[in-house]
Symmetry: C2
DNA sequence: AAGTGGTCTAGACCACGGT
DNA sequence: CCGTGGTCTAGACCACTTG
């Protein structure tokens, strides 16, 4: 019991990070590092109140938001439990593909095809919401899972928001990992389409003929400005996207679903 | 000003529906019925406290959850504003396609291909988490937007959860509309893939050769049991899925993004 | 300085599940 | 019955934006 709580003793009230956010991060980290198994019972709200010395509303907010994301499940009258891990690339969360792959116990490697400054095409300038012809950074790489290509990443970056982007070594870390460390986006937009790959894409992803691609484009904002616009292309037969979560919108008034251990 | 608040006077403390949920629904309804334009300023939290006679934490919860969904935007020191409407089928929300299409100002029509009781195949029984060979309901329909097919719906329903499903007339209402009125799911799972249509699917969706499909499967739970398992197949070139939202996870500590009117 | 939203507290009452 | 989570209150302090 004590060991479980020890992980929570890091909560600090003086940091600029909200307490509920610290609690969320602690729990998510504990789950992703395997300190809790799926289905395992978490400390109750009351126990966390005592252990952390914060009010129950704060605990409750942290746990509620984790529930909405599907990271944990809560059953009234019983307790809070760790959720099932997802086995797909996340549809709704911004995740580092290297982490995703390694969490599945596979090997990740990426091959940088291009990293340069260029002049914004009409499409790129519209997506980045900058003037056509202004300078933008362009990046392209292929990501491998166990030496099999699973994602082609084509990215534009607004240099005004991320001037150092072009000097990074993206063989050592993914663009997503770098960008997430540099800033926390306040808004995201996702689009998903199915399309046939052009010959170049097909070659990069080592796809057989007549196979479609799953095409995810994402834009992320900071302070009202687009920071980056990325297109992630997956071989349709090799990779899916998914999400599982409690419904925030159509939430239960009463009884929650029984949790199956 | 008074007209704006009038819409809020319906909040009741005796209903079994939480107050924050009533406020959310009132605001979403106001937006979807066009009482507020995109970008328009909503009443401040303090004003809503006075108008509704509930505590600020309750108002705040309603507005925070709407922010996470991207329905509204909030800027510290400025106010809360109505968000932009989405132009794609939602990736993360369970929405009635008939509503989605009519909100875009298009005409919806659906053609029921099949509605019958059948014996669960291995795949269907796994997805519904029932015994192989048990009875399940099967439904298939094509949805049209302005007389162009945009979605093929293939659905299995657990008869124990929804015994009346098979008696409904789904020419009058969509399955989604019916199911949403019958129950509010407590959990959902989404999967997205890209694949080539089989000849039958291609025919139903009137697709040209060599065009891929976007394939969304969704399972919804109630009290720990799968209620329905549905596969929605879209013509890759005619329909996309998308979402735009504030990041709950990578939320800002401080200053929010400037809101562009 | 005034108004806004972001967060937090220390209580409270309730519905639910397991005993 | 008791412990659980779900909701709510009436305050509070703070950071931020605008005038």
């Amino acid at each position: 019991m004590k060991a479980v709580f020890k992980r929570f003793n890091q909560v600090s009230k003086s940091l600029p990070v909200p307490i509920y956010q610290q609690i969320k991060e602690t729990i998510e980290q504990g789950i992703s590092e395997g300190h809790w198994e799926a289905g395992e019972k978490l400390p109750s709200e009351h126990e966390l109140v005592d252990a952390l010395g914060v009010s129950r509303m704060t605990i409750n907010r942290a746990l509620s938001e984790l529930t909405q994301k599907g990271a944990i499940k809560r059953v009234q009258g019983v307790g809070s439990f760790v959720g099932e891990p997802t086995r797909h690339a996340s549809l709704i969360e911004l995740q580092d593909i290297a982490l995703e792959i390694s969490r599945r116990g596979r090997q990740h490697r990426s091959e940088v095809l291009s990293l340069r400054q260029t002049v914004a095409s009409i499409e790129a300038s519209m997506q980045l919401e900058v003037a056509t012809g202004s300078k933008v950074f362009f990046f392209r790489a292929v990501h491998f899972q166990d030496e099999l290509p699973v994602q082609l990443e084509t990215r534009y970056v607004n240099p005004e928001m991320m001037p150092e982007f072009i000097q990074q070594d993206f063989k050592q870390q993914t663009t997503t990992a770098y960008l997430l460390r540099q800033f926390k986006p306040d808004e995201m937009e996702h689009r998903v389409k199915a399309l046939m790959p052009d010959p170049q894409t097909r070659k990069h992803l080592l796809m057989s003929e007549n196979q479609p691609c799953l095409n995810l484009t994402r834009r992320t904002w900071k302070r009202g400005q687009v920071v980056t616009y990325v297109t992630l292309t997956y071989p349709g037969d090799r990779y899916g996207l998914g999400a599982r979560y409690a419904t925030g919108e159509y939430q239960l008034r009463q009884s929650e679903s029984a949790f199956k251990k």
